[in-house]
């Protein structure tokens, strides 16, 4: 028997994503983004995003179906991001998914966005091994997850206590006068700078942090250190070596992320690491993760970037995994949860 065909809907932030997945095969991934509207304001405006989701929802569903040449009646299950994310945007996707579930008389699965970022790798690299580590890094999240079963058993080893990695890059980007979102621009500058030029702090790496925060991250102190450094230079009337600042900052972020992740792999006897989320595009992180994983004998899996930014594919992939695992469907009265715990895979 063919594996079930799952339609996934993602609306946790500014992207309206709709995708179709059968088993671990991605049939189509349609996405509409309101990013250009937000760029004017230097950040995501929830109400602007919500209005855009309402307008984009039907066209995006139709585009996905049309491109895959699939009829709605062929769909076996509907998966949707139930959290974490912005309440207004999440509400649009959840409501649409419930309407599909009623109209098609097919089960609904409310799933976790962050776990979706890890699960999407299965569409690219095949099933995850019995135990894998997942580092999910984006504009909103920096979390280290131990995945024993992507559909039923995920443990949160650590998360950022303040800024997410992408958020820290965006803030440093603003500090250096770069356009929003600053992350990719800082990355570009960093490639031409000296990562050892300035020794910026590595958050939560002191011996005293090992007991409680061995796998947690903190990037706000780093961002402040960069701000102070730039300010001191400016006050002294000196030019800012932006390439070196960017490179040294990026080095600090990549160092902490990879060091803690690899330590967790050793501690838990894990030999497969998945990196997901939009920040996995970052070249400094990619480079350092590749090098350190090779040294540690860890199989590193980073899906191509289009799978890493927010999209429907990750939600359809997780939906597909939970359907195959026989997880019970969600009821029609499920709420959205802006701060859904990372151990909650389905609601």
């Amino acid at each position: 028997m063919a594996e079930p065909l799952v339609l996934g809907i993602e609306t946790s932030c500014d992207e309206t994503g709709v995708a179709l997945v059968r088993g671990n095969e991605l049939l189509v991934d349609a996405v509409a983004s309101s990013m250009e509207e937000h760029a004017r304001y230097g950040g995501i405006i929830p109400e602007v995003a919500s209005r855009a989701h309402l307008e984009a929802m039907i066209p995006t569903i139709q585009k996905a179906l049309g491109d895959a040449d699939v009829d709605l009646s062929e769909i076996d299950a509907v998966a949707v991001t139930a959290g974490p994310g912005l309440v207004g945007p999440l509400t649009i996707g959840a409501s649409a998914a419930k309407a599909l579930s009623i109209g098609l008389n097919k089960p609904l699965y409310g799933v976790n966005h962050v776990i979706g970022h890890a699960c999407v790798d299965q569409l690219v690299d095949g099933p995850l091994p019995e135990r894998a580590m997942a580092l999910v890094v984006s504009g909103g999240h920096s979390s280290l997850l131990m995945v024993d079963d992507i559909a039923t058993d995920v443990t949160e080893l650590g998360s950022t206590l303040d800024d997410a990695a992408g958020e820290a890059f965006d803030k440093v980007g603003r500090l250096l006068g770069l356009p929003y979102p600053g992350g990719p621009h800082v990355d570009r500058l960093a490639r031409e700078g000296d990562p050892t030029a300035i020794r910026f702090p590595r958050g939560l790496t002191a011996a005293k942090d090992q007991a409680k925060h061995a796998y947690d991250f903190s990037f706000s102190g780093l961002k402040t250190a960069v701000a102070r450094w730039v300010e001191a230079r400016t006050d002294a009337g000196q030019a800012i070596p932006v390439h070196d600042v960017a490179a040294s900052f990026a080095e600090a972020v990549a160092d902490v992320l990879t060091a803690k992740t690899i330590a967790a792999c050793h501690k838990h006897g894990v030999d497969t690491l998945v990196i997901g989320g939009g920040f996995s595009a970052n070249s400094q992180l990619r480079e350092m993760a590749a090098k350190r994983c090779a040294e540690a004998g860890i199989d590193l899996r980073i899906p191509p970037i289009r799978y890493c930014t927010d999209n429907g594919a990750m939600i359809a992939a997780l939906g597909s995994a939970v359907v195959r695992a026989g997880v019970a469907p969600s009821s029609l009265d499920i709420p959205v949860d802006s701060s859904m715990p990372l151990t909650t895979i389905t609601v």
Binding site: C13, E47, L54, M57, T91, S95, G140, P181
Partner: protein
């Protein structure tokens, strides 16, 4: 064959009517902040109670507000998606129209009488629109009203001044005030005894049927009447976001 109507402009109201507008089943929920949780189960309940399959619907009707944004969108995206799923049109009816029409029947208003329909816009304001009764009874038993002003959003005191200062209607009376928006500001907007307070989804469905027969356009577009709160980077937001959860700071994107 049946028509499903839903309104999320105030609380949640769902109704299923036949092609003549007779009610088959209806449900309401008084949830003001959990529209997304309440609506879908109520839709399932009315379909089940009437024994109607989704494929038995010929249209899905949604109240288009004006209303607080997040709740309003729940109704619209649900109606649009359900209509897409079963391949039927989605029809939009302004929620205040349904309130005005219902006021005519509930209060026995005669032609020439006027109605000030209101709903809660939060932030110390009301959504409002002013109507004149054309006929007590029209097709499908639905009273006929004509919109004279609005919909708009203003402070209650301002609405009272502009709309209730003098008896300037055809029948020499003040407009009859209805709707729960006015209930919040009795000092400015005295609500008539027995006035309807929230839109009734059955009335919404009947209005859509009448307008469909008259070949009127019925866009299922939200009547927001307000722009989103936006602020320049680094500046404090100008106000709380209505019904849409928290406004994040300038760089506060959440994945």
């Amino acid at each position: 064959m049946a028509v499903l109507a839903l309104d999320t402009s105030a609380a949640v109201a769902v109704s299923l009517v036949d092609e003549d507008g007779a009610r088959l089943a209806s449900r309401t929920s008084d949830e003001r902040r959990r529209h997304a949780e309440s609506l879908a189960p109520l839709i399932e309940e009315v379909l089940a109670e009437a024994g109607v399959e989704p494929s038995g619907l010929t249209a899905v009707v949604a109240g288009t507000g004006p209303a607080p944004f997040t709740g309003l969108r729940v109704g619209l995206v649900t109606a649009r998606t359900l209509a897409l799923t079963i391949g039927v049109p989605v029809l939009g009816v302004p929620s205040l129209d349904a309130l005005a029409v219902q006021a005519v029947s509930d209060l026995g208003l005669r032609s020439g009488a006027e109605i000030l329909a209101t709903s809660d816009a939060r932030r110390k304001e009301v959504y409002w629109a002013r109507y004149r009764v054309i006929s007590h009874e029209g097709p499908h038993g639905v009273p006929v009203v004509e919109r004279l002003a609005g919909p708009d959003v203003d402070r209650a005191g301002f609405v009272a001044q502009a709309q209730l200062a003098a008896p300037d209607t055809e029948d020499g009376q003040l407009p009859v005030v209805v709707g729960e928006g006015a209930m919040l500001y009795p000092e400015f907007l005295p609500v008539a005894d027995d006035a309807p307070l929230v839109p009734d989804a059955t009335v919404l469905a009947r209005l859509a049927l009448v307008r469909r027969e008259a070949d009127e356009e019925q866009p299922a577009e939200p009547l927001y009447l307000r722009r989103p709160d936006v602020h320049e980077p680094g500046r404090v937001p100008t106000g709380a976001t209505t019904g849409s959860g928290a406004t994040t700071g300038a760089a506060g994107g959440v994945a």
